[in-house]
């Protein structure tokens, strides 16, 4: 059920300053149900800051984040570093976060997520003992414990091997197809082109591009189907001002 319609989430003029450093400088962004937005940008561009503000982890110095009328603001947050209790088992982590999210039956939610994330073999294992890919699946499962309508992922595949990445994207595509809105940050232009229905490019805290992958190539003089190398070239033109 992919339903691109009215925006679920609208961010206006978001700014975040740390003393004399501006991490985010007037960013406007929208997120619709069933869409996947890739946040691209070099290190320090403000991707994590933007996702943290949208997730409610950090506060914006200025600007607003508004939810569509009648929509419960339920965000699933997948930080780059798994945010869980390593000495609790997979099942205990899921049960605890489901309970914290206010689930009426945390045990049922935990078992459902274990099944959906294919974590059955690891349910009784301490999170600290899980492999990187499994841990990231648990990290994502925890984010889903609260019946989120928006999923924000900070470089979810940065530490994963290709097969683990493939598996994770398979699950994320399923979620998106089910109507969930995704926004993920990545440093891989290829990943953004492949999995982002829209791409937002940040550079030095400013939004320098927002549009479809095709728009990115078109606006920078590279035709469709020019391949990953061409997309990277377009991205570099955006983030590196001409000498």
């Amino acid at each position: 059920m992919t339903t691109l319609g009215a925006p679920l989430l609208v961010a206006r003029d978001l700014r975040r300053r740390y003393r004399d450093f501006t991490a985010l400088d007037g960013v406007d962004l929208e997120l619709r149900p069933g869409e996947s937005v890739a946040l691209l940008g070099p290190n320090g561009a403000g991707k994590t800051t933007l996702l943290s503000i949208l997730a409610g982890v950090s506060r914006a110095s200025e600007g607003t984040v508004e939810w569509a009328e009648g929509v419960a603001p339920r965000v699933g947050w997948v930080p780059q570093r798994p945010s869980l209790y390593p000495r609790l088992t997979t099942r205990e982590n899921l049960r605890l976060f489901a309970a914290l999210e206010g689930a009426p039956d945390p045990d049922a939610v935990a078992e459902d997520l274990i099944a959906r994330a294919d974590l059955g073999r690891f349910a009784g294992q301490a999170a600290a003992k899980l492999s990187t890919g499994t841990l990231q699946r648990l990290n994502l499962a925890i984010a889903l414990a609260g019946e989120a309508s928006v999923l924000l992922l900070d470089e979810p595949t940065a530490t994963l091997s290709p097969d683990q990445r493939h598996r994770l994207w398979g699950w994320l595509d399923q979620l998106r197809a089910g109507g969930m809105a995704l926004m993920f940050s990545t440093q891989s232009v290829d990943e953004a082109m492949r999995h982002g229905g829209r791409i937002a490019v940040l550079a030095a805290g400013r939004l320098v591009f927002a549009g479809s992958p095709a728009d990115l190539l078109r606006e920078h003089g590279i035709g469709d189907g020019a391949g990953a190398e061409a997309a990277e070239l377009a991205f570099m033109r955006l983030v590196e001002p001409p000498a």
């Binding site: 000495r87 609790l88 925890i142």
Partner: protein, 447 residues
Amino acid sequence: MRAAGLLFLKDARLLRRTPALLLVLVAYPLLVALLVALALQSDERKPDVGLVVLDTSGRSVQVGDRRLSIDDYVDRLSDDVNVRELSPEAARTALDDGRVAAVLTIPEGFIADLQSGVRPPALELTASRRSPIQSDAIERRLEAAVYRLNQSLATGYVEQVLQLVDLVTEGGELGIFGRSGDALGLRRSRELVLSVQAQLRRAGEAAAARRLAPLLNFIDETQSNLDLARPAANAIRSPIELHVSEAEEGREPLSAFGFAGALLVSLGLAGVLLAAAAMASEREEGALARLRRGLIASPALVAEKMAFTAAACLIVGLLLLGGVAIFTSLTVGRWGLWLVALILSGLAFGAFGVLAGALARETRTALLVALMLALPLLALGLLPDAEVAAAISEAVPFGPAFDAFQTLLVEPAIPAGDLTLTLGHLALLAAVFGGLATWAVSRRAAD
């Protein structure tokens, strides 16, 4: 509240799942309590004092029924300090090198001056400047030793004076203050005068007999005055007496101080470190960011860590008190008040630890910060007589916690009302540090 309860259970589960930490949490306070109690209850070590004896006369002085020489005096000093007899040069070198904390010099003619009574003999004390605290302690010890010796000598002198009074009254053989001979005595003098008067009257010399009346009056007056000499001399010998009674069981102040100190150090350290680690690990494991997304508010998170620490302090504290009640002569009464004191102390230690944990970015740093803050403040808590130390210690949880523990151990039957102020102080500090910790957690979560 529900979220705080869930995290409380999670923390308890994690603690139970880490046997090494659990063992440390119980064994460490027990060990610290034992060491602190032993340290605080053991006698102070006698300081080393150099003794320079310049009176080489070898004389001794008879005081009352005993004879006092330099050696006797040195023996008496040895009760209070470790005496090392040295030459003047060796004593100076030892003082400079720090091998002795002070040098006591017995001057030339000490015994002769003591014997003559013309001028009191003086001892000279030179204390090291290396340690003012130790110098003060040695001065006090030697002052006490000289006072005791003076009292002993005064007793001897008074006894001699009273013997002299008896001799003047009753007459007899003279053998005091180095003098000997026969004394007539007032009583025999009176009898003699009365006998002479009677003989004179019988011989018709009434006028001559009357002339002896003033002598008789003098003898009577002198006798009356001498009758007052004994109580007066006794009063001079010891104007104020100090009666030291054996403390009742369970009311040994030194033991109470020792165990209160042990409880403070063990619970204070365990509580502060546990809270700091619990808070910092939420952050280090990355869970804090997820929690702060509306799953739990900062005040509730801080309250949960405080409650967790208080529960741990309560269990460890009750274990320690059980040990005290079973294995020592101290009486542990008012268990209800103990529960309140342990819970409030745990909450205050927890708030202090959470603040340290929230200020640090990593668990190891948090533990180090908590330890570095707690250790000196705990030490200040044990020095309540120093004004500045007391003021600082009362501004952190350790001072009032120590007050509460000490009061409950010294006065096992204390009425609840007498502890209200101390317990209120602890509750206030728990609230203040809890507020500061909440501010720090909010700031960290927003970073």
